[in-house]
Structures are given as structure tokens and as C-alpha cells.
């Protein structure tokens, strides 16, 4: 239909390929995309056992570059002098790359074009002998990179005080990888199996963890630790999202040179039918919860919308069964339905959390305003007024992340004024003293409290704040906040 083509060309400004057959254009696009993600009909071979020295690798999963870098850090460097990488087909290998003083290496690779490239990693010992590293292999796919898809919702880590540390914000181009350092809130001993510190990964636009959806958890199992981990230990958390929505989270404990991993499916990106089935089950459970909440709220329009969504999920389950019988189109239809229902549910969850977020913002703003009125100077009052006005704008615009940032500014200004009142300083110190038995190191906590009291008596504000911060680091988080923060074990 030439007329239709002309109209599309006039409305869609980007250049078009007019020579493509409209009947096969979608199939060609799908084939190109399948090539970029290395889609294979056969199953993955079983991974070989990993027993060698461990290495922390960084490399692109898919790249259009034929010579990308692989960068890594050897976590067990004893007796090793270098690393060598060999392509699986043995037609290409690097020389021995010496480890630098930080036990890291960076090597350019050579990819075969338009295919999946598997590489083997070897550690070179001082004797010249080679041993496989752990992991022993990695894969990089050379292919087209189709425009980076944006992330639909913010992903972050819930902290023990029920706040969220955003790692990857909504709208950033995928793939994306971010690393931040958090600290443990409780000691963990390998002699206490069964106990675990949790690092909850949440998705949502709120900075209050209980308003966000839990999408995965890294569990720092006590029994798996190589040694005792005191409270306050640093944990480097890396969250990686590939362009399909597959989330990989890794926690590195530098003190023990130990890593813990977790993989989750954020939406339904994987083409594997098993992954689709798992996502469908999770979505059904979320739908049931949402329906229950809508019934309790008496939200009639939401009940109707969720009922329709439930029917579509039931249809998707049928399509999935058909797909298991070999109909790939049915699998695609099921996948599309799940993506749409996931988006509808996210909207419902955000709507439900919004009044709670606004309540919390109003509480914080009024608290800050009361102390600002008593102790704020002119510049602080101006800043607070600006922040307050912006917060009101974000409330009207229903922008939770921006609102939370503005509220945080007001909270800091209010806190500064709050601590100008010596009674408040004394009260904070005595509250900390009342919880001293809960401290991870009661002796150090008592010493810090004594130092704080002395500083307060001498009107030494900086000394007082240093002491108070020290005590707070030694105290565990509030139990209620921790429960709301998905039982997070980090801050």
C-alpha cells in the first residue's frame, strides 16, 4: 500500500528502508535482535566445577566492538603472577598478563564477528604452570546493539532504616551496572549457621523501602562466610541490568575477599519458557494481593481493572502451555501479556503507595519547619522555603523520587536546627545510652557516650557530633524500621 507507506514516511521522521518486504520486516527485526542476544535453540552445557583461584570479572555481555576489554581482579592471588585468556576455539590467545599491585588485569580480546565468543581463563603461577580460574569461562556476544532501552522503574537496595539507596534510576539506558558500598548492621559469625544478613533489592519510585516491591535478595549466609564479619563491615554491592531486564546483584565483602550472588528477572525478558512460567506465577500472586487490597479499599474501578488483568494472566497461562507444545508465537503472546499486566500492577502499587509517601513528606516537612522557626538563620530559612515550595510542586506532579529528594534537603536543614538545642543533644545521647546493651561493642559504645557527655558539658559541638555518630554506628537499627525495610542487614 504505497499511500500508507508515504503517510508513515511523512509522520515518522527517521530514515526508513523502503525496500523491506512489509510481510517479513518484523521477522527480520526479530532475527537481528536474536542474533545480538545470542539466542540458541539448544540448551546451555553444564558448567564445569569451579575450584581454582577466584576472579572478579568485568566485561560487556553483548558488544558491537570486536576488541573489547576484559578487566578483572584475582581474589585469591597467592602464588600467582599473571593471567592468560584463550578463546574457546583455541585459534586466539593473549600472552600472560602480569597482575598489578592491586591484583587486577586488563586485556583486549579478539571476538569472532556476529557470534557468541566463549573464553577460558587461566592463572599463571610463579612456576609457570597454569590453573583454571573460577569462573573458568566467560562469554561475550558480538552483535548489533539496537538503541539502549530505558529502565522502566528505579532499582535500589533497601536499607535497615527503611530507606532506599537508588542504584539504577528510571529512564537510564540499559545495560547499566552500578556499585555502591554499604555497611553491615550486625555481626555475623560462621559458627552460627542458619543466620543470614539480607541485602534486599527493591524496585519502585519511592525512597521508603516498604513502599517499593522486593525483587530479589542477596543472602550473606553465616555458614558460608570464610571468617567472622563484624558489624559495620563494608559490603560492595553491584547491581547489573542487561537490556532485557535480567538483574544480577553481587555483594563483595572486601575484608573476607568473598562474593555472594543473586539473579532475578525484573519483567519477563528471558525467552526461556521456564522463566516465563516462574514470572507468571509471581505475577498471579501479586495480582491476588493487589485484588485483596483493592477490595479492602473499596476501589471499584481498580477491582474491575485487576479482574480483567487476572483473566488475561489466565489466558497467558494457557498460551504458555501451548508454547511448551512447540508454538513459539503463543510464547511471544504470553510474554507480551505479562509485560502489560506487570506495568498495570506497577501503576496500581505506585498509586497505593503515593498517599503514604505524601503523609511521610508532610510529617518530615512540619517537623523541620518547627525547628527551623526556632533556630534557623536567614539563609537557612530561605533554603527551606525554596525546598518546601518545590516539595509542594512535586506532590502536585506526583513525582515520588523528586519529592523524596526535596524532603531530604528539608530534613537536613531541620536536623541542623534541632541539634542547636542543647536539650535535644542531651536527649539524643541519653536515648543512645538506654540502648547500649544492644550495641555490637558495648564497651566502645559506653566510651563514645562518655566522650559525648564530656563534649556536651564543654559545649564542644563537633566533639559531641563525632561521639554521637560513633554510638549510632555501634547500635543496631530500629526493629520496626528494619522490618519495613524488608529485613535489610545493611545501611
Amino acid at each position: 500500500m504505497p499511500l500508507l507507506r508515504e503517510q508513515v514516511a511523512s509522520r515518522v521522521r527517521p530514515p526508513r528502508a523502503g525496500s523491506l518486504d512489509p510481510m517479513t520486516a518484523v521477522a527480520q527485526g526479530a532475527a537481528l535482535f536474536a542474533m545480538t542476544v545470542g539466542l540458541q535453540a539448544q540448551g546451555e552445557p553444564a558448567a564445569p566445577p569451579t575450584t581454582g583461584p577466584r576472579v572478579w570479572l568485568q566485561h560487556p555481555a553483548v558488544t558491537a566492538d570486536l576488541a573489547p576489554f576484559v578487566v578483572g581482579r584475582v581474589l585469591d592471588p597467592a602464588g600467582l603472577v599473571g593471567v592468560r585468556v584463550e578463546r574457546e576455539d583455541k585459534s586466539w590467545t593473549t600472552g600472560t598478563e602480569a597482575l598489578d599491585k592491586e591484583n587486577t588485569f586488563a586485556m583486549p580480546l579478539a571476538l569472532r564477528p556476529r557470534t557468541a565468543n566463549d573464553f577460558r581463563l587461566f592463572a599463571v603461577q610463579s612456576s609457570g604452570a597454569e590453573v583454571p580460574l573460577s569462573p573458568p569461562t566467560f562469554r561475550i556476544i558480538h552483535g548489533l546493539t539496537i538503541g539502549d532501552p530505558p529502565l522502566a522503574r528505579t532499582v535500589g537496595v533497601a536499607r535497615a532504616d527503611n530507606s532506599v539507596m537508588p542504584f539504577v534510576e528510571r529512564g537510564v539506558p540499559l545495560p547499566m551496572r552500578r556499585t555502591f558500598t554499604l555497611h553491615t548492621v550486625a555481626p555475623v559469625s560462621p559458627n552460627a549457621p542458619g543466620f543470614a544478613l539480607l541485602v534486599p533489592i527493591v524496585q519502585g519510585e519511592f525512597l521508603l523501602a516498604h513502599l517499593c516491591r522486593l525483587v530479589g535478595t542477596i543472602s550473606l549466609e553465616a555458614g558460608a562466610l570464610k571468617g567472622p564479619l563484624p558489624a559495620g563491615s563494608a559490603v560492595d554491592i553491584t547491581i547489573e541490568l542487561d537490556r532485557g531486564g535480567r538483574l544480577t546483584a553481587r555483594a563483595l565483602i572486601p575484608a573476607l575477599s568473598q562474593t555472594f550472588d543473586h539473579v532475578a528477572q525484573l519483567v519477563v525478558a528471558s525467552l526461556s519458557l521456564d522463566a516465563l512460567g516462574t514470572t507468571l506465577d509471581e505475577l498471579s500472586a501479586r495480582l491476588r494481593t493487589a485484588q485483596g487490597q483493592a477490595f479492602r479499599d473499596g476501589a471499584h474501578s481498580t477491582i474491575a481493572a485487576l479482574g480483567a488483568a487476572h483473566e488475561r494472566v489466565a489466558d497467558a497461562a494457557t498460551q504458555l502451555d501451548v508454547a511448551r507444545g512447540g508454538d513459539a508465537d503463543a510464547g511471544e503472546m504470553a510474554r507480551r501479556v505479562l509485560i502489560e499486566v506487570d506495568a498495570e500492577l506497577a501503576e496500581f502499587e505506585a498509586e497505593r503507595g503515593w498517599p503514604l509517601a505524601v503523609d511521610d513528606a508532610h510529617r518530615t516537612l512540619s517537623w523541620a519547619a518547627s525547628w527551623m522557626g526556632r533556630y534557623g538563620d536567614e539563609a537557612e530559612r530561605k533554603l527551606f522555603a525554596t525546598s518546601f515550595a518545590r516539595a509542594e510542586q512535586w506532590i502536585k506532579a506526583k513525582k515520588p523520587l523528586e519529592l523524596a529528594r526535596e524532603v531530604r534537603v528539608a530534613d537536613r536543614l531541620g536536623s541542623a536546627c534541632y541539634f542547636r538545642d542543647s536539650h535535644n543533644c542531651g536527649w539524643e545521647l541519653e536515648y543512645a545510652a538506654s540502648r547500649i546493651s544492644e550495641a555490637s561493642d558495648p564497651v566502645a559504645a559506653q566510651a563514645a557516650i562518655n566522650a559525648g557527655r564530656t563534649a556536651l558539658a564543654a559545649n564542644d559541638k563537633s566533639g559531641f557530633h563525632a561521639a554521637l555518630h560513633k554510638v549510632r554506628d555501634l547500635l543496631p537499627p530500629d526493629v520496626d524500621d528494619q522490618r519495613l525495610g524488608h529485613d535489610s542487614g545493611v545501611r
Binding site: W56, Q58, H59, P60, T63, A64, D65, A67, P68, F69, V70, V71, G72, R73, E102, T104, A106, P108, P173, M176, R177, R178, T179, D236, T238
Partner: protein, 110 residues
């Protein structure tokens, strides 16, 4: 020209000259991101016309994003100034030799 544009020029952030092609810039950026994720000490700072500046993963991603867009790349090329040469390490003061020459006692500080 404001200070961030001067110091956070994408070419300075990535440590590459304006003559690099897109693929070389991507490669340099991806390598930097990987090293930053590993916490490598060499990636703590980048060179700039007014001396070393702190470097973060976000800086690298923004630099890569700027160089992917032909318009912002031209602006970055136009705004490029060569980075300041690394400061030369001052030779250590030979206090012992000075003290011996002046026939005084050895100072407490090294």
C-alpha cells in the same frame, strides 16, 4: 564556559584525544567503567586543564553518552583544552645534609 564543562569534557573524562573514533571512545569508556567497578586506584581521578579531578562511573557514562551524540561531540571537541601536565614530584628535602652543612642538630621532622 562554565567550570564543569571545562573540567568534565568527555575527552578528559575518558582520557582520550578528540581524534578518537566512536568505537575507540566506547572501548576506553567501557574499560574505565570496569576498572571503576573493581575500585582500581588508577581510576580515582582524571586529567583536566586545571589539574586532576575526581572521577566516577556516572562521569564516564555521561561522557560516553555525550560522545554518541554528534552534536554534543562537536561541542566537546570545540571546548577541548589540553589537560594540564601532571605535577612534577618535588625532590625530597635533604634535611640531614642541610643540618650537617649548617653544623646544627638533626631536626625532629624528616
Amino acid at each position: 564556559m562554565n567550570a564543569p564543562r571545562l573540567t568534565k569534557n568527555p575527552f578528559h573524562v575518558l582520557g582520550v584525544p578528540p581524534s578518537v573514533d566512536r568505537m575507540e571512545a566506547e572501548r576506553a569508556g567501557q574499560k574505565l567503567l570496569a576498572l571503576i567497578d573493581l575500585g582500581h586506584a588508577s581510576t580515582a581521578e582524571h586529567a583536566s586543564p586545571i589539574g586532576p579531578r575526581p572521577l566516577s562511573g556516572d562521569d564516564v557514562r555521561l561522557a560516553l553518552s555525550a560522545l554518541r551524540d554528534p552534536t554534543t561531540r562537536v561541542m566537546a571537541e570545540a571546548a577541548y583544552l589540553p589537560p594540564a601536565p601532571a605535577p612534577k614530584a618535588e625532590p625530597p628535602i635533604e634535611w640531614a645534609a642541610i643540618a650537617a652543612r649548617l653544623s646544627r642538630r638533626r631536626p625532629f621532622f624528616p
